[in-house]
Subunit: 396 residues, 2 copies
């Protein structure tokens, strides 16, 4: 393809922080971004050419987005695969990744089945459509285990740990409630349960599918609390052989995916150093934000390259790099006013990424910090630094 | 200052490529950008919050920009210092750099005088208000020399070499023509003449003035043809002592400047390795585009930090880095369609920066390429690579 005027336009379903960072990365490449999002003045709006305001599953919104775009993609799994497929066919605007991939991923049970069939190592899991089925499954898997809503969960929402047989009824009731729209009468298709992996550490690999090529970014260690990502460090502390195995599993996962783009592949390093797949996101992912400063190509530039049919960029790491999320530390939803940022600007090689969200609530992702280390510096020290900086920020 | 909603807004007079790259850099910091530019849908428009369409010296345009902004700056010397000063006072929106700096810089004669007074080494120069004065001055300075329009010149426009006494009349007539508005009756204040420095190489230093702090980016070598910047390489090939001297001169220049921001400081390395000041731009500069990938903080982020009163970022170089401008290679003004970009995307560690200009004409700056080398790699090889890539691009 050639760069000409008007500029090639990428339509992105979702205008949150991922859409914003996609727009930041697209501009140097000469690609304009239009996003669709139900919230007016979404985070991506100030740096996008335009925002179409409308729901992710609203046909008129998605059609308008497609008509204004040369390429379509999504930054949120709530995008509707059937609608994307129909609109892509109707308007002739190609959509990447393939909506079929979204269908596989949006249902965690379908996802796990497909990956297991393809030989990707996954934790043991069962479909459960009632509290009785859950109890039976846990007879095999043992306690504790993780009960998961099959659809719609993210950042720990829709995941309920089941510690003992006494928790079964309440956990299942909770997951039915969490799966919005699931009434008491229709519990089937709602949940799955998975063995709780007693992991050594959590790893993540950003995979990329281009036009006839595939690649991965360096293996990253992710640190969660309350099932929300808090920090990443790259390189991961894991041994070389473990990282190599993580990369192999990620490449196997990519073989199951259809369509171009980057994929966030979350993994467990188990007690015997085996690698097990945790979850996949068919889009740029929080575990890859560090690549903006840490790699020669960022995950966002890579996604734009892939979706627009350009060659993939160099994924190698420039220096040891850590990141920490800036999360809402308030109890009540309120206007967002951050204090303490001066220390971030004063810290050499600290990079603020602010998402421009108007309101903050508890644990909402409001931005992130990235710290770039010296070549061969160990990440322990930089991780301690980024935590100190992060802890100096507050919305209170 | 704190980050809150609505976001802090930076108003930028000028919406060209510098405004665009400022907007790209401002977004992660949580700063929104509004630009003013006479050309509708200027290069910065797709990534700015908004563009006010109007001339650089139109009071209503600049007032509207100031009213929408928390901070004002400019990316073009055509900004009107009197107007900026008046509007800043009227609206209470601070403007950086100080309009006084713009006054000093916009008139090359005033600029040279002030710098010479401050002890900055400059080539020998004379004010010339007629062909006779020019002939007299060249009796002192010798031939060849460079006749310069005092105001409005850039990218070599407004610079006329005078090779011999026979050129004097025509050169002076040309400079009067070039200084638009200068009639045959009013030639005073139009021109200056400067000795032609037989330089070893040209160097550039991006200087930065923050809130009570100052710094410089690493010394860069610039390569011009027809007085238009073609390539940069950093580190410069010059000896360590020469680079140190260039940095000292840049710091002396900064002492003359008033107001926060980054400054492009162009220097000559003379035949005996002395450093002479060539020109100053009170804004991000083409010679600093390589800092986007090459340094821990880019010149654009640095300018946003400085102007909004934040601490300056780390200016150190991450790796040897070269850049090459993508210039219009067509004779007639026409719609811009670039071909050959695929090779750029396929080249590891090559970065395209596209400015989104709708039309191309001969030597118009349409974008640039940056190549990042391996640590300790010499820039000869990377420079050859970037030239090869650049030469593969065409608008024809």
């Amino acid at each position: 393809m050639t760069l000409s005027s008007p500029a090639p336009t990428l339509g992105v379903v979702g205008g949150g922080q991922l859409g914003r960072m996609l727009a930041e990365a697209a501009s140097p490449l000469g690609v304009e971004v239009v996003v669709s999002d139900p919230t007016p003045d979404a985070p991506a709006a100030p740096v996008a050419r335009d925002q179409v305001v409308g729901d992710f599953d609203d046909p008129e919104t998605i059609r308008e987005l497609a008509e204004r775009a040369d390429f379509l993609t999504f930054e949120i799994e709530l995008a509707d695969p059937d609608l994307l497929e129909a609109v892509a066919e109707e308007t002739g605007t190609p959509v990447h990744p393939d909506p079929e991939t979204l269908r596989i991923i949006e249902d965690k049970l379908v996802q796990k089945r497909r990956l297991a069939e393809a030989g990707v190592p996954v934790p043991e899991f069962r479909e459960v459509n009632s509290a009785d089925e859950l109890r039976e499954a846990l007879g095999d898997l043992g306690y504790p285990a993780m009960l998961k809503a099959r659809k719609g969960g993210y950042d720990g929402r829709g995941n309920v740990p089941v510690e003992s047989p006494e928790d079964v009824e309440s956990a299942f009731a909770e997951i039915v409630d969490a799966a919005q729209g699931g009434s008491q009468d229709d519990r089937s298709g709602v949940a799955m349960v998975e063995e709780m992996v007693d992991f050594e550490r959590e790893l993540a690999v950003m995979g990329c599918l281009g036009d006839g090529e595939r690649d991965t970014f360096p293996v990253t260690e992710t640190i969660h609390e309350e099932e929300i990502l808090r920090e990443t460090r790259s390189p991961a502390e894991a041994d070389e052989s473990v990282r190599e195995r993580a990369r192999e599993v990620a490449l196997d996962v990519l073989d199951v995916m259809e369509g171009r783009g980057v994929y966030g592949i979350e993994l467990f390093q188990g007690p015997d150093d085996e690698i097990l797949l945790n979850e996949i996101a068919p889009r740029p992912h929080n575990s890859g934000h560090w690549t903006i400063e840490g790699c020669h190509t960022s995950q966002f530039e890579q996604h734009v390259r892939a979706v627009t049919g350009r060659a993939l960029g160099d994924t190698s790491r420039r220096a040891p790099t850590v990141s920490a999320n800036i999360l809402g530390d308030v109890e009540e939803r309120q206007d967002a006013t951050l204090s303490g940022e001066d220390a971030v600007f004063e810290w050499p090689r600290a990079h603020l990424h602010w998402y421009g969200k108007h309101e903050v609530y508890r644990l909402r992702k409001m931005g992130h910090l990235t710290l770039v280390g010296k070549p061969d510096e160990r990440t322990d020290r930089i991780l301690a630094d980024v935590r100190e900086l992060r802890d100096g920020l507050s919305f209170r």
